[in-house]
């Protein structure tokens, strides 16, 4: 099969906001990165709270609420959740009416991922020997104190590899935002492909940028894991080996 590459397509003028497709592509990459990073922050914050709530002693109602949270956000497809946030939430909750679409998508992707992160935080906490918790209690720590100083520092180190996969997944999942017209990479791919009929070049560039983003986040997490390692405690290195 003979292919005629025409990479000069990126220098053409799309006739809109951007002078060339190249600049549009870079802006789209920026949107992908911002959606992903903001969603990751939301997911880590809520996921940690929900995950911790599921392990708290003597608080069955909080644990039940946290379990329901995880089941709710895990059992609905991401695209449906994005539609609900984008079309339903502003209509049903009046104060959400003027909220920009970007924020709604960040909520959708962040909440969706928070359920998975909550699972990992819970698993990380429960994988610690019970003795650690009891030792904290025996020292006279309050619940907040022994979580803060004893349990969480170890639990987070243990779950860095699955968190790495989740961070890479968020970049991949951000592609679903095209469905509500966020001008990120996939949206760019769809529109530019239609306008230029140079699908292969456009898709190759977009796919390449997704791979680069995922690889970058993988390296950042590997760096964090290396810096936070407790000598002699966690044997496994190779952060997120399963993440690709």
């Amino acid at each position: 099969m003979k292919t005629n590459w025409d990479w000069a397509v990126f220098l053409q003028d799309p006739g809109g906001q951007y002078p060339t497709y190249w600049q549009w592509l870079m802006s789209a990459w920026g949107w992908t990165i911002s959606v992903s990073v903001f969603s990751l922050v939301v997911a880590l914050t809520i996921g940690s709270l929900v995950g911790i709530a599921r392990t708290l002693p003597d608080n069955p109602w909080l644990a039940r609420f946290a379990n329901a949270w995880v089941e709710l956000f895990r059992n609905i497809p991401l695209l449906v959740q994005i539609f609900v946030w984008y079309h339903v939430v502003p209509a049903l909750i009046p104060p959400m009416k003027g909220v920009p679409g970007f924020f709604l998508v960040v909520c959708a992707l962040g909440f969706f991922t928070s359920a998975r992160i909550a699972e990992q935080v819970r698993a990380g906490i429960q994988s610690l020997p019970k003795g650690q918790r009891y030792a904290g209690m025996a020292m006279g720590f309050t619940t907040v104190q022994y979580y803060r100083y004893v349990i969480l520092p170890m639990a987070y180190r243990i779950i860095i590899p699955p968190l790495t996969s989740e961070a890479m997944n968020i970049f991949k999942n951000s592609s679903v935002a095209f469905a509500v017209s966020i001008s990120e990479l996939t949206m760019f791919a769809l529109q530019a492909q239609e306008e230029t009929s140079r699908g292969i070049e456009i898709y190759l560039a977009v796919t390449g940028l997704y791979v680069v983003s995922a690889f970058a986040i993988n390296r950042i997490m590997a760096f964090i894991e290396k810096r936070t390692r407790v000598p002699g405690f966690i044997a496994s290195a190779d952060a997120g080996a399963g993440g690709h």
Partner: protein, 229 residues
């Protein structure tokens, strides 16, 4: 804002939703069967220890897993040549392009994920089993078919089924190429009757009920298998 779901009568369910539901289920089943088959093959290639087999399988699996599914769907839709659709009867080939392309995509994409599950399953079988099979004079094929794969499949069954539930959720992404799945059914019904809000809400509820009951079933199965072992 008043929600009014009353417009969902049997007629709409039949014309909009069932068609999409059938396709979502069909896509899930075909992609699971095809993906497991192709995935097992990929896993065997990666575990064969021969470089000519290991390298392409590794590149394929890691490549697929580092690209967003939406992009894979778009790639297949772009690259599958028109002559492929001509292999189908004329009306099906012309009218169901997106759907045919979606099925191909999901088999190819899920194979990468299933192959990782299969690889973990095969590796979970103790080496002694492999050696015992070899000592009995079994060939590689016999050993795999009679000793290792039956155990690996059983170990991996809960994970395989969980992946199938994720796969069912992911079928909604064929929205990108306009294939008619369950979500598209809700989408069209909502747009046609000017009730998109109720439609999306109902879609969320329906997906939740299906996925929640399936994962409850998998959890039960997991417990059952664990007791037997």
């Amino acid at each position: 804002m008043n929600l009014d779901l009353s417009f969902y009568n049997w007629e709409i369910i039949r014309t909009f939703l069932l068609k999409g539901f059938y396709f979502s289920v069909l896509l899930t089943i075909v992609a699971t069967l095809g993906g497991v088959l192709l995935g097992t093959l990929l896993a065997l290639m990666r575990l064969s220890g021969r470089k000519v087999l290991v390298a392409p399988a590794t590149i394929y699996v890691n490549g697929m897993r580092s690209i967003p599914l939406v992009m894979v769907i778009l790639w297949f839709y772009l690259l599958v040549p028109a002559s492929f659709y001509e292999m189908f009867p004329y009306r099906i080939g012309q009218n169901y392009r997106s759907e045919i392309s979606a099925v191909l995509t999901f088999v190819a994409f899920e194979a990468a994920y299933f192959s990782e599950i299969m690889r973990a399953g095969i590796q979970s079988i103790p080496r002694g089993q492999v050696h015992a099979g070899q000592a009995m004079g079994m060939t590689y094929g016999q050993n795999m078919k009679l000793i290792i794969l039956p155990q690996a499949f059983r170990n991996m069954l809960p994970v395989l089924l969980t992946q199938t539930i994720i796969l069912f959720q992911d079928t909604s992404l064929v929205y990108a190429i306009g294939a008619y799945d369950l979500l598209k059914g809700f989408d069209s019904a909502g747009k046609n009757y000017g009730r998109p809000i109720e439609s999306y809400l109902l879609a969320a509820v329906v997906y939740f009920v299906i996925c929640f009951s399936l994962s409850w079933f998998v959890k039960r199965l997991h417990k059952k298998i664990a007791i037997i072992r």
